[in-house]
Symmetry: D2
């Protein structure tokens, strides 16, 4: 199964109710798969599938569906993700839970269809206006493409916030066998949803707060939620980090090459480990800082961009000079050997 298909089925198994998107390579198999399964008796909860006439429309339809408490999702890539930023800012302000899958391609501009991780900043820091923060999940296998939508909805509804699944063109096209996790399709309480008052209290979701104190309290509330997620819901994978002198930090597809490099380096007798953030935002700074304090001598950040996560790693590590980096971009990947050599060189 392809990664893009896996994310579609993962969303369906997690109880997806509504999908809206404008197709864009390299994410198009997601709507294609969902279109095929629409009205299938296997997914009776999947009630709305709609190809919108633009990226802007798609995100605003997702907002509308999410406002009713439905499990809603959209998928896109680069240019489409940019067009969705206004909507994401509104959704953050309205505290709407949904998933946006961004299958990162080469950029900026039209760029190309190669894999990249260059939307890291956009997903984790910037993107829309007004200073909200998204929860961002980064799968590194077709298996995780299938399982992260379930976690995504859980976090989206727990914190009432958009969740970004940041994949890449390689992961989207990669074919691997997967085992469906026995997902318990969660029902989330949505006492805030606009489901029709029917005589009871009317719910209204707004992104406009003209009063300065009111707006200030609201932004503080959003900040507290993010800090709570940072305390309770960061996710990361460590591999042979216990005794490591050197730790490679990588996320997504490129983390697999890094694991391979770790194995090669361990075979050579070097104490090297891998730290893989799964939640890119909130970033797992605390465990990384702990590793830094516990005697790790060097960190090597490997990214498919010009250097973005490296900022978060440096912030956690607090000594810029011990943080090295490899960056490849434009659709190119580093080889495991290249990573091995870089570690050997920086360890001298």
């Amino acid at each position: 199964m392809k990664g893009n298909e896996a994310i579609a089925y993962g969303a369906l198994k997690a109880g997806l109710n509504a999908y809206f998107a404008y197709p864009i390579t390299p994410s198009s198999e997601i709507p294609e798969t969902l279109a095929k399964e629409f009205r299938s008796p296997s997914y009776p909860e999947f009630k709305v599938f709609l190809q919108s006439s633009s990226e802007l429309e798609a995100i605003n339809m997702v907002i509308g569906a999410a406002a009713t408490g439905a499990k809603a999702m959209t998928a896109t890539s680069g240019p489409g993700f940019s067009l969705k930023q206004e909507g994401l800012s509104y959704a953050a302000a309205m505290e709407l839970p949904f998933i946006v899958a961004d299958v990162n391609r080469g950029g900026p501009g039209l760029g190309n269809l190669g894999p990249e991780q260059s939307d890291y900043f956009q997903a984790t820091k910037g993107g829309g206006h007004g200073g909200y923060r998204n929860i961002v999940l980064a799968p590194n296998s077709v298996q995780e493409m299938a399982s992260l939508p379930s976690l995504g909805f859980t976090l989206a509804f727990r914190y009432r916030t958009p969740v970004i699944i940041l994949a890449d063109a390689f992961l989207g096209q990669l074919k691997e066998d997967i085992v469906y996790p026995s997902i318990v399709e969660e029902k989330f309480d949505t006492p805030w949803a606009t489901t029709g008052a029917n005589g009871e209290t009317r719910h209204v979701l707004v992104s406009l707060r003209l009063d300065f104190d009111d707006q200030s309290r609201h932004v503080e509330h959003l900040m507290k939620k993010f800090e709570e997620a940072e305390r309770n819901d960061i996710k990361y994978e460590t591999y042979m980090t216990d005794d490591a002198d050197v730790i490679i930090v990588a996320f997504g597809i490129v983390s697999r090459l890094c694991k391979l490099a770790v194995n090669i380096l361990r075979d050579k007798g070097m104490a090297v480990g891998l730290f893989r953030p799964i939640t890119l935002s909130p970033f797992p700074s605390a465990p990384l800082a702990k590793l830094a304090r516990s005697g790790v001598k060097r960190f090597l950040v490997v990214e498919l961009n010009t250097g973005q996560m490296v900022y978060d790693v440096k912030l956690a590590v607090e000594r810029n000079e011990v943080v090295e980096q490899i960056h490849r971009f434009g659709g190119l990947l580093p080889s495991a050997n290249e990573i091995v050599k870089k570690v050997e060189m920086t360890s001298r």
Copy 2:
């Protein structure tokens, strides 16, 4: 003169050729002023003024004008800045020089019309897809609102890149006397511009590079340009930092309250200084790092957001525990007294 008027006149004095925008509070006096001066004999180079029918259209019209080598500009705020992110990514890829003024209001979502600095991440890190970096200038007075467009065009044409002027709702409405700097209206060489081949070599500007190596080289080229700007063109203001134990770091309107606080604290006999980045991106990390190494004990970052520039300050300083922060948002400003107290408290 209001800040929004000053930025308009500053652009005209710098030789503005073309302005396109969709009006949005609190930036609307910019197009209003330019509309009034359109066809005025004082500004014969100001040849196109156009109110577009959407924010998307405005940025794409700016792209078109800039591609001909014209000095083009647009202005917007929050939601409109988000809608322009796709265009900014394309412009970065095509290396087009122009100015976008973002008069930051309270967000996210519709938020309110109060002053904020919450678009810091969006302007300096994220925003559009594909990992480009903008040059970002932050005025802190009506005088600088008038002078930064000239610097903006200089940097935009020097590095062939969009330049963001990040102001805020307060600065836009603030009235102050200004002295026009004697701007020498620069003529920039634009051998790349698409001005009509007329029998000579045809210029084509693209944002699409399907070949991975080609795209990789191009992104590297963009990165090198940014690093060059970081070496040669960072701008910042220091105030009484020479002997300071504590340095307040602030940009834009709030830096003025910080200067006031420095004066009060100096009167009290405390060795406090102010570091004000004018280029928010590239960030003046090197001079700040130097101050950190030369014995400054504490840094206090004051921002009108939930904490964004503080990341760049910590990255420069490399000891997170010596970086304190004050953040106000939602349209609220801290008082000078509040800043004074925070410094006194953290200096114990």
Copy 3:
């Protein structure tokens, strides 16, 4: 039941598969009713209900649905009907069967929400570019609002053409009891439909024919279809026309006042009848011409516009001076008494 509800239920009973529209007064109860019945077990064939984000989108979505052989429909009024004209021209060229209900309000421009019949020319003659002709049906009761969608689909599929149901604001709001005709939900053969080739011949529907001879043959084919409909499928109602000296010609809501006037005039001993076109296009010229030849002395055309159907009546009658007219507009209706007086006056 309101007329707008009746047209919605009439379409459902006729097997409506897909409805797309942007709501506009005074037609909004049509989408409201259909939204309510969407997913109701009573109408299992009603599979798509979509509120589009513009009138243009709605007509193009209808085109897409109709191209698959589905029974598709949209409803609108004045300004929205104008915005749909490009789509209608494309649909005519592609020979797509569907229904557009135009609930005529007062115009031109925004006008008002009163009843009018001023879209007669637009529906029957002009509208879109390129000289196609629509089939246009004009109900005059809530009962016909319920029954004409069934006839509409029959004619649409028989001639592969858009069918307009031209109602008005009064009919849309009028409440009357209705009896559902026992509609045999017809299945239409659609060998041309683009339902997915599945290994068989692929169907393509085009509106572009660059070759002059090809385009000429195609337009001739469209003309022949319309002439065939004129021979076989004109519909009209006559009331006491057999011995009439004077015949009132009227369609839609105002025909009911005319019938009342006929009754009053008959009571007064005058030989007056009513001719009501139900297909406004093709116009029932032949039966009207026959009446003209068989001794009728005068015709009185009563319309809620400045005089549009009167052209078709004159063309059929061939003596302009025997055709009188009453026209009311702007939301106003003539009284039965006014019609009576006009007949008495013109009969002297």
Copy 4:
């Protein structure tokens, strides 16, 4: 000079102030020519040239410019003319004077780029909603393409109404020498224009009249204006009609083939003439009716469509059986010989 260029220069000589359009074949030389002459010192009154981002935008920009009393114009073809119908209806209601040139191509749908006259109904009868009537001018030479914009503006401002110049793809591309008529550039009084109140009475132009009586009076006013134009401003050309037994009726490009046919037939000794309407709307019914009453035995209507003007001819002539027709479409033209034969045949 090409017809499309001639119409552009004709508009400029008539004092064009503002042009807005979205380019569409076969009218694109019109904006191309105007773009070239924009800012030329020869046309100081030509102050705004704007390529809009859609046909809808173009017509609404024309509305905005015309509301200030400017001489505004747009040009389009088929699909674009359809998209402009909502705007035309609003403009009719607001009584705005401007020119729309429709360079008719083959239709319906995308059709092809050949010459046709199939937008006759759309321009003269239908088009937009709500029952207004346009003034429609039909040139038949490059010379008239150059002179009709001047007449167009005169009639537009005299009757405060949109004026359509209905040309075709052949006329647009035809090259002929022309002599510029010594146009006295008229200044029109526009006491209704919204030019900024400056302390005086504010003008407001509306298309919304919720009150039924108010709307009724307004529509009656529009109707009276059209009737006045019908009395005073119909234009037509007659050629050898004085003693004619047979009269050919034709407009636009095809009228030239008809004149040739008349010459051939006169050489053969037959009493044949040509009647060419220049105002298609209001239609010159009165002079045509007079000819019918004065002994003409037959009329032959020659049109590049499936038969549209023939309705207006029959209405004027009042005996359908004496009106013959030739129609060619899809980009095809009849030959002069074919017209000659048809006349010979019908004269037997």
